[in-house]
């Protein structure tokens, strides 16, 4: 579905990058005035995400310990000035494992959400636009996957693929393809009834042009919101898989895996090994949820919650 604009030159709207940026800035500054609380929710989410993203980019600025260094300190000591979040059973610094572990979870969650969006959106667009038997069959498949507990599916995929960063990404991505498919298909179905789409057809626009220039730009606003919420969900799925012990090679710093390790020492009162990694998972997921909620208020004012 490569959108080539051969045939009559048809413009639904001007979509130059500068135009989009200017529009967004206008919308955001208007939003900052209009929805005070929602605006701060968005900002808070963005700050949390920015902080964790900078951990993945410059981990050495946050800690001078290496995550796999077993001589970082004494074994299983509670938080102290030297080790902000204590040390684990192997004498590794918990904070350094959190800093370096951010890469794994954030990378997997973003890559997985992107992959499912890149598969789900085109499928949903084409399926909803073309209709017919193919659309019915594809919808049935997607609805079936959607209604089934995603984690179970991810477990099955992760188990079959074996440990590995790419494999866990695939396992998480599979779960969310139907989310995008259903969203985009539903939107496409309603947008293709609009008068301007009919007009485009009437003046002789080709089907790929209609899809790319008339329908797609109208679908994308909702997708942005769902994408952010989806990353939050993918974060929890990734953490769940690695907590269960599926998906990642042993020893790799990862919040979910560190939690399952800490679980073994919980009965002897070692609270710091489980408190901090879990707190980070929650914060990261919360960051993306808040960003998504804030965006949803601003990009889709009609969907506004009272």
């Amino acid at each position: 579905m490569n959108a080539t604009s051969s045939g009559p030159e048809i413009r639904a709207a001007k979509y130059s990058p500068a135009g989009i940026a200017a529009g967004l800035i206008r919308r955001f500054s208007a939003a900052a005035k209009r929805y005070r609380i929602e605006w701060w929710i968005l900002v808070a989410g963005a700050v949390v995400i920015a902080a964790i993203v900078s951990m993945t980019l410059f981990p050495h600025l946050f800690t001078h310990f290496r995550p796999e260094d077993m001589n970082a300190g004494p074994q299983m000591k509670p938080p102290s000035a030297a080790h902000l979040m204590g040390t684990d059973n192997l004498g590794r610094d918990v904070w350094s494992r959190i800093v370096y572990g951010a890469r794994t979870i954030l990378g997997v969650a973003i890559a997985a959400s992107l992959a499912s969006a890149l598969i789900g959106i085109p499928l949903g667009l084409v399926s909803g636009f073309s209709g017919g038997l193919g659309d019915k069959a594809l919808s049935l498949v997607m609805d079936s996957i959607y209604s089934f507990p995603g984690l179970i599916l991810a477990i099955a995929f992760a188990a079959m693929l074996g440990p590995g960063v790419i494999n866990i990404t695939v396992a998480v991505a599979v779960v969310y393809v139907p989310t995008y498919f259903r969203l985009v298909r539903g939107q496409t179905l309603s947008i293709k009834q609009e008068l301007y789409v009919e007009a485009a057809h009437a003046i002789g626009a080709r089907r790929p042009t209609v899809l790319a220039k008339y329908i797609f730009p109208n679908v994308i606003a909702t997708v942005v919101v769902v994408f952010s919420l989806n990353i939050a969900d993918a974060i929890m799925t990734e953490a769940a898989l690695s907590y269960i012990g599926l998906g990642l090679p042993a020893g790799m710093p990862d919040w979910g895996m560190d939690l399952s390790m800490g679980k073994k020492f919980l009965p002897s009162g070692v609270w710091w090994m489980i408190t901090y990694p879990g707190l980070m998972i929650m914060l990261l997921a919360l960051g993306f949820t808040m960003l998504g909620e804030g965006l949803s208020e601003i990009l889709n004012p009609r969907l506004q919650e009272y």
Binding site: F148, M160, A232, G262
Partner: protein, 338 residues
Amino acid sequence: MRRILNYFLMRVLLTIPMLFVLLTLVFVVLRVMPGDPVSAMLGGHAPEYVIQQKKAELGLNKPIFEQYIDYLGQLAHGDLGNSMIFVERVSHPISQRLPATIELTLFGLLVTLGIGIPLGVRASRKRRTAQDFGIRFYANIVYCIPVFWMGLILQMVFGVFLPLFPIAGRVGARIISSDFDRTGFYVLDTLMKGNFTALGDVLMHLVLPAFTLGITLSGVFVRLTRANMLDVLKSDYVLASRARGVPERKVVYKHALKNALIPIVTMMGLQFSALLAGAILTETTFSWPGMGRLLLERIYLRDYPTVQGVIIVYALFVSLVSLIVDIVYAIIDPRVQL
């Protein structure tokens, strides 16, 4: 009554293609993807002829499509097949573990609704006040807490630091479960036997897992109840009953909530799969001998027929619940198009 019967039949027929799709997907995932159950089972060093022999025995040397047809035929007879690792039918461990999972999810759901609905109603009545924002904040936070972390935190606080509740298993070591184990639903079993010591112990073991599951899911219900209540509270009949001087409590809980509950019932069906996913993680955290543990144990052993069987039972369970929810919906809301 006829209306509901027809609806019921339609819904059952619609469930079949969904199950079929899931079944096919699971089959393909387990058979086509890398990883060979026989070599996994016999260890890496088994001679080639032994592997081939074992494969022939299990029917794994046939073409995939033939295996698939065989498997469907088997399922059509209600047979989930035999385990590849143990000498047992797949249905055997499932029938032992399923009640544990159902018991956990039911109590989890109870906690979810018990927290979610009252908080949602409260938030809608105090709209845009500190209470409302506080409750919405709770809903968002709780939604982002991973189930297993919630479990660990509850274990830490109420099991280790304040040793109030047990943190693992369904019954304590001093209680012998075979004394009352009949249906597998321990709460029911102990009640039927009149064994109240055991009942108390079983309930104590349920507290933390049920709250783990219940609290994490309650956020969704808070938001849903709040949004629906706000809609309903704006309606004319609420205004009318207020004008007639009906006490506010009665207006809210009797007139408004009753109508706001209808979409919540539908949502319960959709959230059920989240509940089951959460149950797997809760089972892992609390060593709860349910379906989720079974699934993971057998995945590590590469016992494919059992893994398939467990996933199919999960799918059946989800469809059954969504069927029940739809029927309840049709009964309580006569406007449903049938």
